[in-house]
């Protein structure tokens, strides 16, 4: 919830100015909207995808660090660990807090707010480590920081397993 507080409490002053002057209100996204549409878990096959990517030059998929919504991610892709871009692997729990990035979707030309929730409760997944840092900031801007364990606020276990990239809203120009 930290990044969330940051938006409300530092709001336009701090974080908002950083990420290209977009509307702080929109940026808050729909993280807490219970009825939000949940993307289905995509079938995942690293080998097939890699082969496919090499042959067809198709855009990077959810098991590639170059996938558009992974622009500010530092961790293991949950899509390689039994989850997907937006779901935690079986037996793990999504982090209660997260950091936020703003990523450009080349398919529709729009910028989206992405909540990077870690998945918690099992040891490091160890598969598909990515380290991208667009808009990432040191921990004095905690809600934009990716070098800290975002499982830190979970009560069952703060153990870091992997990282999801959850689209939480459109980053409208302010």
């Amino acid at each position: 919830m930290r990044w969330f507080d940051d938006f409300f409490e530092r709001g336009v002053r701090g974080v908002a100015r950083r990420t290209s002057r977009r509307s702080a209100l929109t940026r808050i996204g729909r993280l807490l909207v219970g009825s939000a549409f949940v993307l289905p878990v995509l079938p995942f096959d690293r080998i097939a995808r890699t082969a496919e990517a090499a042959q067809k030059k198709s855009p990077p998929g959810e098991t590639s660090c170059d996938y558009w919504r992974y622009c500010a991610l530092d961790g293991y892709l949950c899509a390689c660990c039994g989850g997907s871009a937006s779901t935690c692997p079986p037996g793990t729990e999504a982090s209660k807090v997260s950091w936020i990035g703003t990523c450009h979707n080349p398919h529709d030309g729009k910028d989206y707010l992405v909540s990077y929730n870690d998945c918690c409760g099992k040891g490091s997944c160890g598969r598909c480590l990515c380290n991208t840092n667009e808009g990432e900031r040191p921990a004095y801007r905690m809600g934009l920081h990716n070098d800290i364990n975002w499982c830190m606020a979970n009560t069952d276990s703060t153990m870091f397993h992997c990282t999801t990239s959850v689209v939480v809203g459109l980053a409208e120009k302010s």
């Binding site: 919830m1 969330f4 507080d5 409300f8 409490e9 530092r10 701090g14 209100l25 929109t26 808050i28 996204g29 729909r30 993280l31 807490l32 909207v33 219970g34 939000a36 549409f37 949940v38 993307l39 878990v41 079938p43 995942f44 096959d45 690293r46 080998i47 097939a48 390689c80 660990c81 039994g82 989850g83 997907s84 937006s86 779901t87 935690c88 692997p89 079986p90 037996g91 729990e93 999504a94 979707n105 529709d108 729009k110 989206y112 909540s115 929730n117 998945c119 099992k122 040891g123 490091s124 997944c125 160890g126 598969r127 999801t164 959850v166 689209v167 939480v168 809203g169 459109l170 409208e172």
Partner: protein, 384 residues
């Protein structure tokens, strides 16, 4: 910079967002935990001792058809693993220290639900479980699923009996000089162990899991001239072993006194001359429906080569003892076959720790591989 205020911020957020969700072109998401498709007989559990971080071992769960990585189960410090008889639970006998690598030692059996890969319980056991590389037979359930048998080493050897129904440790049975647990398939409370003098130890439990009887067979293999690999596979209640030099031994556990089959050789005299030998950590697999035996073989075997990766996998008809196929070995150090009627043979490539999948319904044919899967894995188990 304001202070951290958890409650008010959340309340405000929910109010603000109540009407959200309609502006974006990409679907707005909410993070959830993935659900697993029901397990099939082609699901495989690969136990990885992760020796460079041995305190943090793990089990990789993979679908053998799609090669999708389904998830992970913690095996922790040199934890031993096995599936329940019905495949619904996965057991890990392991050690935890209060300070990671020091402090107070606690040994438990962790219970995982194979439908969710979530830990659902633990059973404390004596702090003696074998902290060993993963070999089949170090942790097994009895055929009726009632008891879990945990190989101990202090280094004195014994077996801890855990009542899976009552969820508690019951008894410790000394098995001096013997190793592994080989559960009888017809007498649920009987198990055997291989002994260093070449005999088989046969233990019978009472209804509560305590030792009722114990007997030693005559010597049935020569641990000096031609030791047996400890892994066994069963066809009914006939349990198969291979020796370092490539002989097949069998022991029938359906009676109180084991009956041993006549050893036969996997290799012709010419092949023996070239020192073709079994090698690896889990060098044999069987498909029970078709009575086929798979063995990981390497040429130029010698003293010390018994863990070498396979150059070939050999396929035998167990009834006729005839070799029916030789295929390239994929550097296999461990193999395991699914038991359905479209069986897959899984092999762990010992050189790069990839998982190699063969179709095994008719001819054995390598179909796909996942590289790398593990760090230092030695044990494969397929979903029943």
């Amino acid at each position: 910079m304001s202070t951290w205020r958890r409650g008010p911020a959340i309340a405000l957020a929910v109010a603000t967002l109540a009407s959200g969700g309609s502006w974006a072109d990409v679907a707005i998401e909410q993070v959830t935990t993935a659900k697993l498709a029901p397990a099939t007989p082609h699901r495989v559990y690969v136990t990885d001792v992760a020796i460079s971080h041995i305190v943090d071992g793990r089990v990789h769960v993979v679908d053998g058809d799609s090669l999708k990585y389904l998830g992970m189960i913690a095996s922790a410090y040199a934890g031993q693993t096995t599936l329940s008889q019905d495949g619904r639970e996965f057991y890990v006998a392991t050690t935890y220290y209060s300070r990671l690598s020091r402090g107070e030692r606690t040994d438990v059996v962790d219970i995982y639900d194979t439908a969710t890969l979530a830990q659902v319980g633990e059973i404390p056991i004596p702090p003696k479980h074998a902290q060993a590389l993963n070999y089949k037979g170090i942790l097994r359930t009895t055929r009726d699923g009632r008891f879990l048998l945990v190989q101990n080493a202090t280094p004195a050897t014994s077996v801890s009996v855990v009542d899976l129904k009552a969820r508690k440790f019951v008894a410790e049975i000394p098995t001096p000089g013997c190793w592994t647990v080989i559960p009888s398939q017809s007498a649920p409370q009987r198990f055997a162990a291989l002994c260093g003098d070449g005999s088989l130890l046969v233990v019978t439990l009472d209804g509560d899991g305590r030792q009722a009887k114990m007997a030693r067979s005559a010597k049935f293999f020569d641990p000096d001239d031609d030791p047996l690999f400890v892994q066994s596979e069963n066809l009914g209640d006939e349990h198969l072993f291979v020796s370092f030099k490539g002989k097949v031994y069998s022991a029938d556990l359906s009676q109180e006194t084991p009956r041993f089959g006549s050893p036969w050789s996997l290799v012709t005299p010419a092949e023996a001359k070239k020192n073709w030998r079994p090698g690896g950590y889990q060098p044999i697999a069987v498909h029970r429906g078709t009575h086929r035996l798979f063995v990981t073989m390497h040429p130029n075997g010698k003293e010390g080569s018994h863990k070498d990766p396979a150059q070939e996998i050999w396929v035998f008809d167990f009834d006729s003892k005839a070799r029916i196929q030789r295929v390239k070995g994929a550097n296999a150090v461990s193999i395991s076959a699914s038991q359905d009627d479209k069986p897959l043979l899984f092999a762990l490539d010992g050189k790069n720790m990839g998982l190699v999948v063969f179709e095994a319904a008719n001819k054995l044919v390598q179909k796909r591989r996942l590289d790398p899967l593990a760090e230092t894995a030695f044990l494969l188990e397929t979903q029943p």
